[in-house]
């Protein structure tokens, strides 16, 4: 029996992805009518905040798939080869998601409503000593240039990595060719990781997210954001792997691989918690007003419920449920946990973005969930399309055979 190399998108899958996208569009329209079109800047900012939260979150999540590829490439990890094309397909959504993200971010920065990004209000900045101090970094010009450059670099380097992967599709490599091939992959992965370090691990979360609370600062913020989106990215890859398995694809991916993906979800959920705790505890302990200000609406204000739910979903649930070996090897549990983790970190982003905009109440989350589902539909559509374009297994990759016999 030959490998089922070519993925055909089932009709049901397409129906679902279009239905979800439709739901997303309806939610956007409804939210625009109820809030976005309002004359009250706070009301209309609530609409934009929702778009910002969703687009940035899902962009960082799909981009995390490329991080996963590059990190495992640099570490010469062989085990993930059998589903490598799935990670690639998820990362193929970056350019489109990137364009959406850029449009939304720039629309917010250049609008007249400065509720989200106070620092974009040049008039206001003149009277605000702190924002005036920060204007060397927080200004429209730099924001635009760096955002555009970042998205272009992610897209181009990601494309290069996927392209390199396709090059192995021709014929089987000799050992010498394999070494050269690995070398090329290593160089481009390293380049991607340098860009990643300068964007996701530092500047980008400061610009896109931390600057919403423009007076506030935390050195941990970017690493924290990275951990949040990385674990969600692994969960997303897992979901597609499970879907393909259930449809009879990916013959050489089995419970062993699933088990390891589960370990990643478990370990990085705890890593996220570690960063969460470090940031929160240090600010709580030192109790400096300019720092605790950030947590005030979140811990003591209206967002209290979400704050604790965040910990329950993203820490306690993975800790207890994914600890067991069996649950990491069970298709149902792992699917449930992947969905929970993606939702959990979406919720984390919700509480990162909204409290600065809707300070006195938690906005009704139904719209946001609708928009989130729209993005999910879009990612489903883009990933599935990317999956059809390449064979499902990179069978000539030097490490493919290691992946076949992988035992965890």
């Amino acid at each position: 029996m030959a490998i089922r190399e070519h993925f055909e998108i089932p009709k049901r899958f397409n129906t679902w992805s279009f239905a979800l996208m439709g739901l997303g569009l309806i939610s956007i329209v409804l939210l625009y009518i109820t809030h976005g079109s309002s004359k009250d800047p706070h009301e209309s900012a609530r609409f934009w905040a929702s778009l910002l939260q969703n687009s940035v979150y899902f962009l960082l999540v799909v981009n995390a798939a490329m991080f996963f590829i590059c990190a495992t490439t640099l570490a010469w990890g062989g085990w993930q080869m059998s589903f490598r094309r799935v990670s690639e397909a998820v990362s193929a959504a970056v350019p489109v998601m990137g364009v959406i993200g850029v449009v939304i971010l720039l629309a917010i920065v250049f609008s007249d409503n400065h509720t989200i990004y106070h620092w974009a209000d040049t008039e206001h900045v003149q009277h605000d000593e702190i924002l005036n101090h920060k204007k060397g970094f927080l200004n429209k010009g730099f924001f635009t240039a760096w955002t555009l450059l970042t998205v272009v670099l992610w897209s181009v380097l990601g494309w290069k990595m996927r392209n390199l992967s396709r090059q192995s599709d021709g014929k089987q490599m000799s050992v010498e060719e394999g070494k050269k091939y690995m070398w090329k992959n290593t160089v481009w992965s390293a380049l991607y990781l340098v860009v990643f370090a300068l964007t996701v691990m530092s500047t980008i979360p400061w610009l896109w997210l931390m600057s919403i609370d423009a007076h506030w600062y935390s050195t941990m913020y970017s690493w924290y954001t990275f951990a949040s989106t990385f674990v969600a990215g692994v969960a997303l890859i897992t979901l597609f792997v499970v879907y393909l398995k259930n449809n009879g694809y990916l013959e050489y991916t089995n419970e062993e691989h699933l088990h390891d993906l589960g370990k990643f979800m478990f370990a990085f959920s705890i890593f996220w918690t570690y960063l969460w705790f470090s940031q929160y505890m240090l600010i709580w302990y030192a109790n400096i007003p300019e720092e605790t200000k950030y947590f005030e609406p979140r811990v003591q204000g209206p967002y209290k419920g979400i704050f604790f739910l965040n910990i329950i979903i993203n820490f306690i649930a993975p800790l207890l449920i994914l600890m067991k070996r069996d649950s990491k090897r069970n298709y149902t549990t792992i699917t449930f946990m992947a969905v929970l983790i993606i939702f959990g970190h979406w919720l984390d982003f919700f509480q990162m973005v909204h409290p600065a905009v809707s300070t006195d109440h938690v906005p009704m989350m139904l719209y946001d969930l609708g928009i989130a589902l729209g993005f999910v539909g879009l990612i489903m559509f883009l990933t599935a399309k990317a999956l059809t374009k390449a064979p499902l297994v990179p069978k000539n990759h030097p490490f493919f055979k290691e992946s076949v016999i992988h035992h965890t």
Partner: protein, 484 residues
């Protein structure tokens, strides 16, 4: 049929040369059974000398008080705590290699884990000296242990990160020791079985706890390893995290920053690997173990060094940037005037830190450099120096200028007894390491055997058929899908 043992030939072998199980035992146990060389004696005597210097320095401090050191009213922590953090950091590589790399299934760890774990234990022993002797009234040191007592009762301050340190480090030491020693058991039994002298047989007989190598023993041994690896993994992160809390929970400018925990951990792994390189580059040469600790091992560890060095670099720059961005005058002053300003009294130390930890490791982007023994050795020393200065910069440049210029201290430089104490810990560290390399196998014999037939050079060559087999056919023969 499910194939259990195959590794791509694209990967470099982890054991060079043609070896069988017996040869592995001979090569690694040989040095333990031979008389120590002249070089060993010279090194050992120097180490003991340094240790004696350390003992004298500490005696001076205990007899005449902490005033024997140049700590002053603002620099309450100087060389002592710098050295403490430095040694604790070094003590991270061993457990990282044995626990986290075990979980990540990195085969190359088998060549270096034993020595790295030993080093970890010695480094933590050295680290522990500093806070203990810093107490001054060291005879009251047991006050740090929380137990119902007749002193009032006087309890420890559970809110203090310094107390968390006591728990974190003692736990870490205990688990590391258990991990290292339980790994040693099969090898000690091998030495026992090979021993020809009566005292040797007795010594290794007692030390190996009656290990027979039965299936049952191996089964328990494997289970224990996994449990200890699971326990150690969070410990690798928690120890330096808690050390970073010593600083970050405070409101001292330059200390209070949220990135400290992961950044300290990355720095600790960075310095730990540097020390592993320093020791192994020499050990492999002196004990002729180049076929087990290959250039490949050194290459891989240099990759870890460039990775962690760059992570630390991102953290330094983040800290510096946010100090400006945060618009807190005191924080920014600590960075701008006490550190970045090269003309400030201690500004030079900031540049040593940046140069050694961030810039110099970038040389390891080049494969040639990673595989050069000379460059590796030189770099490992440089990184060790850089990481010492990192702690010095964090501690001293943050506190030597208090809020009021009237409380700015005079230029802090250590006394001979502070230096002597530090040198003494080198003595302790190397005395232990020399004894270890003489009486214990510096490479885990049993673990090398475990990977030999998969990653040994001569065995890999025999895998040509598998390597050339058509991937699809290979997949059908060897895949072991248990069904969805």
């Amino acid at each position: 049929m499910a194939l259990l043992r195959y590794e791509s030939q694209v990967r470099a072998p982890l054991v060079d040369g043609t070896k069988d199980y017996h040869q592995v035992t001979e090569d690694i146990c040989g040095p333990v059974e031979a008389s120590p060389s002249r070089l060993w004696w010279i090194g050992f005597i120097i180490s003991v000398g340094l240790l004696i210097f350390g003992i004298i320095s500490v005696t001076m401090e205990v007899t005449y008080g902490v005033g024997q050191w140049n700590l002053n009213k603002t620099v309450g922590w100087g060389w002592d705590i710098t050295n403490f953090v430095w040694w604790v950091g070094i003590g991270h590589a061993g457990t990282l290699i044995s626990a986290i790399l075990l979980l990540f299934r990195q085969g190359w760890r088998t060549g270096v884990n034993r020595a790295a774990e030993a080093m970890t234990i010695f480094a933590v022993m050295c680290a522990g000296q500093f806070p203990i002797w810093h107490m001054g009234r060291v005879w009251d040191a047991f006050f740090v242990l929380p137990y119902p007592n007749t002193r009032g009762p006087l309890w420890v301050n559970f809110n203090s990160p310094l107390l968390w340190d006591v728990f974190a480090i003692s736990t870490y030491f205990t688990v590391s020791l258990l991990f290292w020693y339980s790994g040693l058991l099969p090898d000690l039994a091998t030495l026992r079985d090979r021993a020809k002298l009566k005292w040797r047989k007795m010594f290794y007989g007692v030390a190996s706890f009656g290990w027979t190598g039965s299936t049952k023993h191996w089964q328990r041994h494997e289970a224990l390893s996994l449990v200890l690896a699971g326990l150690s993994t969070p410990l690798v992160l928690s120890v330096h995290t808690i050390v970073s809390f010593d600083f970050a929970t405070s409101v001292v400018p330059g200390w209070h920053t949220t990135i400290f925990p992961p950044y300290f951990v990355a720095g600790a792994i960075f310095s730990g690997f540097a020390m592993v390189q320093t020791l192994l580059v020499v050990t492999r040469k002196v004990l002729k173990l180049e076929e087990y600790i290959t250039i490949e091992h050194i290459d891989v560890m240099n990759k870890v060094i460039v990775l962690t060095g760059s992570i630390v670099g991102i953290a330094y720059l983040t800290e510096l940037f946010i100090a400006w961005y945060g618009a807190n005058g005191y924080e920014w002053y600590a960075f701008k005037e006490n550190r970045v300003n090269i003309n400030s009294p201690l500004g030079w130390s900031y540049y040593i830190m940046m140069g050694c930890n961030v810039l110099s490791p970038q040389i390891f982007w080049f494969r040639k450099m990673r595989r050069s023994i000379t460059v590796t050795f030189f770099m490992s020393i440089l990184v060790n120096i850089g990481m010492w200065f990192e702690r010095f910069v964090i501690i001293v440049t943050s506190v030597y200028r208090d809020y009021l210029p009237s409380a700015w201290s005079t230029y802090y430089r250590p006394t001979i007894w502070e230096v002597g104490f530090f040198m003494g810990t080198f003595g302790l560290f190397f005395t232990c390491y020399f004894l270890f390399s003489k009486y214990f196998p510096v490479i885990a014999v049993a673990e090398i055997k475990h990977i030999l037939k998969r990653s040994g050079e001569s065995y890999k060559e025999k895998m040509d058929t598998l390597e050339q087999e058509d991937p699809e056919q290979f997949g059908q023969e060897h895949s072991h899908d248990h069904g969805a």
